[in-house]
């Protein structure tokens, strides 16, 4: 059989190319385009070079949002990863309760993000919400629309409630993949419960935890919907994370140049930090 050479086969790639072009390349290039130009409306654009980038990088407002963003991501990673692992460790390894646990764990992940925000908003209302009312009744002054600390507490709690399950499911999958012989060998070697965790379970979960940390990092770094619905970035700017700030600049103030430059910086930052995480966490395995 002879091979037929036919360049028309390239047409098969066309649909994908169109799709990628319209949902990734063109929008991204539009943003790049905006980020280096100034406009006063009427579709008139003037090239400005790196002016917007310099403005963004020098602005107090951006520094503030960036700092809050890193704090938020740091806090939820520090809570969700250990908590997720701890929950996964207490889940049964076999039996009818496994599916019950898995379904319970998957539930928060199935709820749309704006619904999560709305749920927690109602729950945290100081006068009628279960959480807000309860805390105030206990004598703890709590009002997430007035006190920055309460707002932070609520946003973090909401994210932990929403996303710890993801870490749990990944960690559980990692735990389940450990052959029974490892536990038997550990028993024979007289290992303590902590040693089993430290030398068997944790190393075996390494890979899935890398994925969990990466996913949670990227997702939380781009968080928008839930805090937007819950606090709208307030009180003041106290829960204005990067994406909320970006939307404010782009749609609230119609500062296209600033917003575009911020988007590009934001995008490169997410990419960079993810890459650093990935390299650091997989470095040990290549030896």
């Amino acid at each position: 059989m002879t091979k037929t050479w036919n360049n028309r086969a390239w047409f098969f790639v066309l649909p994908v190319l169109l799709l990628v072009a319209f949902n990734a390349i063109i929008p991204l290039m539009t943003v790049v385009n905006y980020s280096v130009q100034e406009t006063f409306g009427n579709n008139l654009f003037f090239f400005e070079g790196t002016k917007w980038y310099e403005a963004v990088l020098a602005s107090e407002r951006f520094h503030g949002a960036l700092l809050r963003q890193f704090m938020f991501t740091g806090i939820i990673l520090l809570i969700e990863v250990p908590l997720g692992v701890a929950i996964a460790l207490t889940m049964p390894r076999s039996g009818p309760w496994v599916s019950v646990c898995l379904v319970l764990m998957a539930l928060p992940l199935l709820i749309p993000w704006n619904v999560v925000g709305a749920m927690w908003n109602i729950m945290a209302l100081p006068d009628i919400g279960l959480l807000g009312y309860g805390l105030n009744k206990l004598g703890i002054p709590y009002n997430f629309t007035r006190q920055p600390f309460s707002a932070w507490f609520t946003v973090v709690l909401m994210d932990v409630w929403h996303w710890t399950s993801l870490v749990v499911l990944l960690a559980y999958a990692g735990l389940r993949s450990i052959p029974e012989a490892y536990y038997q060998a550990a028993k024979i070697d007289g290992a303590s419960r902590f040693s089993v965790f430290r030398f068997i379970q944790l190393p075996k979960m390494n890979r899935v935890l890398t994925i969990a940390v990466l996913l949670r990092f990227m997702d939380s770094f781009m968080i928008y919907t839930e805090p937007f619905v819950l606090t709208g970035g307030g009180p003041g700017n106290s829960t204005t994370f990067l994406s909320i700030d970006l939307v404010k600049a782009a749609l609230g103030e119609f500062n296209l140049g600033i917003a575009a430059a911020m988007s590009i910086i934001y995008f490169l930052m997410t990419l960079l930090v993810s890459w650093i995480f990935y390299t650091l966490m997989t470095r040990g395995e290549e030896q």
């Binding site: 490892y182 038997q184 024979i188 030398f199 030896q287």
Partner: protein, 358 residues
């Protein structure tokens, strides 16, 4: 080191076993002598791993007692029994170095640091991993990992016994042979009580002084490799050991005469009165001689396996294998004779003693 007595052990994986079939281990009553090298041989699912896990304490038997040097340890945990076990897939602690892997069981037992160092260094030399001591266990080959797993047992010089659960399954054929000889050597030097589970007859026969053959949750025969080969106690042992396995032909017995279909042959001895439903004659292919005299057979095919040939024939439809030397031709009208030394007679699958021929 210890003597291990299994006192009427029965085990079932289901909660309320009633019938005999419910038991994965039907009834095992046996003693493993101090310092012996034993193999538990049998097909998959015959209960050998169950028996091993009962000895190591990972499983608690449904019934029966287990004694180490006369002390009842049935209720004791693995750790208290002081047993070492090597599993089918090499278990190593990936993030530790080879040295730390071996030190781990000692550190868990609170042994003093200089004592740990002495024993680990000694064991590393024993298993030939001294140069790799500082290397992480993660990057090692499967056979080195299995050596570490073995080393973690050996390092505890006071272990009651070392149990092996098909430890060479994932090892390259060439390394299998090396590791097996090393095990044998270690056994000779330190005379640990070793129990080795396998479904590979070569492994069992080369490793052990005494082979325990199991089938369907029962011990069918315990013996030296020669005994298993020459005098299989049960037709199962005949089939299972040897390559090809023993020929088993249905016969009608009448004193010192056996009738195979319409053919008659003389046995080396007479059987007593036979009350069994089914009587059979067992003969290993090694003891079947092909020539011009004896019982006529039909040759179906000849398999050349290097220095010898396996002749697959049949007597009145019953298959019969024979081994002939490479250079010997099969005659045109083949007949077979059985060497008297290789003849065994079975009643309901169990071997009968043949008395002296009168």
């Amino acid at each position: 080191m210890a003597r291990i007595d299994l006192d009427n052990i029965r085990h079932a994986y289901m909660p309320a076993p009633k019938r005999d079939e419910d038991f994965a281990l039907k009834r095992v009553h046996h003693t493993f002598d101090d310092g012996g090298a034993y193999a538990l041989l049998g097909p998959s699912g015959c209960g050998k791993t169950t028996l091993l896990n009962i000895m190591s304490g990972l499983l608690r038997p449904t019934e029966g007692k287990i004694l180490f040097d006369g002390r009842d340890v049935t209720g004791l945990s693995t750790e208290e029994r002081n047993i070492a076990q090597v599993f089918q897939f090499p278990v190593v602690y990936d993030t530790m170095t080879v040295y730390d892997n071996l030190a781990f069981p000692l550190r868990n037992r609170g042994v003093a640091a200089d004592e740990i160092d002495r024993r680990v260094t000694e064991t590393l030399a024993m298993i030939g991993l001294a140069e790799r001591a500082r290397q992480k266990a993660r990057g090692l080959t499967a056979d080195d990992k299995q050596k570490i797993a073995l080393g973690r047992g050996l390092v505890r010089s006071d272990v009651s016994a070392i149990l092996f659960d098909e430890p060479l399954t994932v090892i390259d054929p060439h390394m299998k042979w090396v590791l097996r000889s090393q095990l044998k050597e270690l056994h000779r030097r330190f005379s640990f009580t070793m129990v080795y589970v396998t479904h590979d007859q070569t492994e069992a026969l080369t490793f052990a002084d005494q082979v325990v053959v199991m089938n369907e949750g029962e011990i069918v025969q315990i013996g030296t490799p020669e005994e298993l080969f020459e005098r299989p106690n049960h037709t199962f042992v005949g089939y299972f050991i040897g390559s090809p396995g023993m020929n088993v032909l249905p016969v009608v017995l009448d004193g010192a005469v056996a009738r195979i279909g319409s053919h008659v042959m003389t046995l080396p001895g007479a059987t007593g009165p036979v009350g069994a439903q089914r009587t059979e004659l067992g003969i290993r292919p090694e003891y079947v001689r092909i020539g011009r005299e004896g019982i006529p057979v039909t040759v179906e095919r000849v398999e050349d396996v290097g220095r010898r040939k396996i002749v697959h024939a049949s007597i009145d439809g019953h298959p019969l294998a024979a081994i002939v030397p490479e250079d010997e031709a099969v005659p045109a009208e083949p007949h077979v004779r059985f060497e008297p030394a290789g003849i065994n007679v079975y009643a309901d699958s169990w071997r009968m003693d043949l008395g002296e021929a009168s």
